[in-house]
């Protein structure tokens, strides 16, 4: 079964130099369990197909039913060096919400 991330979570992303963090907030406790199980750093990195050059760290934030993904070397050198249109990675959240999770 496939679940669209946008149906079970919201997201917000922001920049710190060349690092982009994407907070993913589950819509319910059950959805949080699904996120924890299936939304791994590997899945996130793969979804961005080379936009994220470094490692992706995942922090679990149980009190907020949220996961925080810290994506290193993700912003083409950082906002002011970047040739991208989305220099600050504000739309990393949007792109992540497009993800479909394969639920086993």
């Amino acid at each position: 079964m496939k679940i669209k991330l946008i149906d079970i979570a919201s997201a917000r992303s922001g920049d710190k130099n060349n690092v982009c963090n994407i907070g993913v907030m589950a819509k319910s406790i059950e959805d949080y369990a699904t996120l924890k199980k299936y939304l791994t750093p590997e899945v996130v990195k793969e979804h961005f197909k080379g936009l994220i050059k470094g490692k992706v760290e995942r922090f679990e934030w149980d009190a907020l039913e949220s996961l925080n993904f810290v994506c290193h070397e993700a912003l083409d050198g950082g906002a002011s060096r970047s040739l991208r249109m989305d220099t600050l990675g504000k739309n990393f959240s949007s792109h992540l919400l497009r993800l479909e999770l394969e639920i086993l």
Partner: protein, 464 residues
Amino acid sequence: MSKTIRIAGAQGFYGDSPLGAIQIAMQHEADYLMHDALAELTLSILQKDKMKDPTMGYARDIEVHARTLYPIAFSKGIKIVTNSGGLNPESAAEKVKAILEKSGIKGIKIATITGDDVLARLPEFKENNIELSNLDDGSSYYDSKFPPTHANVYIGAQMVKEALDNGANLILAGRVADPCLALGIMAHEFNWKIDDASSQEDWDRMAFAITIGHILECGGQASGGNAYSEWPMPYSVSDLGYPIAHVHDNCTGFITKAKNTGGKVSRNTIREQLVYEIHDPTNYITPDVVVDLSQIILQDVEENKVSISGIKGKPKPEKLKLCIGQHEGFVTEQFFFFSYPFAYDKLQMFIKAVKETWTKLPIQIVESRFNIIGVNGLHEDAVDIPDAEELNQRSELGLRIAIKHKDDRTGKTAIAGIVCLGLNGPPGVISVPGWGNMNRAMLSLFPCLIPRELINPVVKYFNV
């Protein structure tokens, strides 16, 4: 009975609208207005202003605030704390003082906080062998070949507290870390310790204040703006109410927003702001305290009211963060549009002709980028693009061309060399007059740590 104060998140960035803050002041819904004007890159922008005119270098929206917002706020006894002083707080204070005096306002004490700007001290650090190594890759700053544009240390809240203790009505600070503005206010009102903190109670108090500051620092982003969790946002955003924290000296409180406004405050909108720009939630590092947000308790209490508690603190980090801006070169960009029919084929032909043209020109392009607007502009290679047949059916496609270059001649020559393709190239191409960017300065940030004993923030007062 615990003491309560009200702090509004009155500004989220340099260029934010003053209307939300004006409404809060008129309705007297806050005791303090906290304005954050300094994103990571804002200091680079301010440095450019300062190089053109040494009396500039502050966030210029304070001039608008001084004419519109401050008189209303001061008439109600509301105090204002901002880092809009940027690279030139004292010049900002002189400017605000002049505007207020012209309006006939008297009895106001403006405080400036400086000491964060260490651009002129970089040679001294080198001479004294102060290690400045890049937090990302470990390289030494002294090996860097690019000229510095600005160098500012993220400083804490102690001087904000001191200025308020001494009766300041308006604080114009330099690079005080965004959330520390709230800590300075709360430490003043509740008589909390900052630099002399020594107990778990002290650290927990500071951590609570920092969390409030973090929620408020992006203005409307906490009260329903930019909120996927509230999409399709069934509320008005053109009159979005800015967030207001009601905080108690027992480290509890709630977030609400201005009355009679659009937007929304919910557990969801606050959650979204809390995760923003935070890395490890157990170690949110600020100059004054390391915050553990992992046990935070957020609850919807009633409509537009979310309670907050459960935040823990740990001792401050040994060193402070220093960000040095470096001028690496320039970015130039231009936009072109292609119409049906064959929009995609024409766009591809155009790109090919651009690349061929550039090989013949006396220019040095470090890197180039071609984005199809509406297709892969925002997400680049992370999205699959539709096949040519489908794209050729589009009524229009946009092309963005961006280049990096080291000298300030390449951009102009590169763009001037390709505009002829409007006549010589594929049919149905337009460029929009006035669009694009020529020679935008390309700056990199060199983030490093510096011993805190080298940094001594200073407060000065200006009486109106």
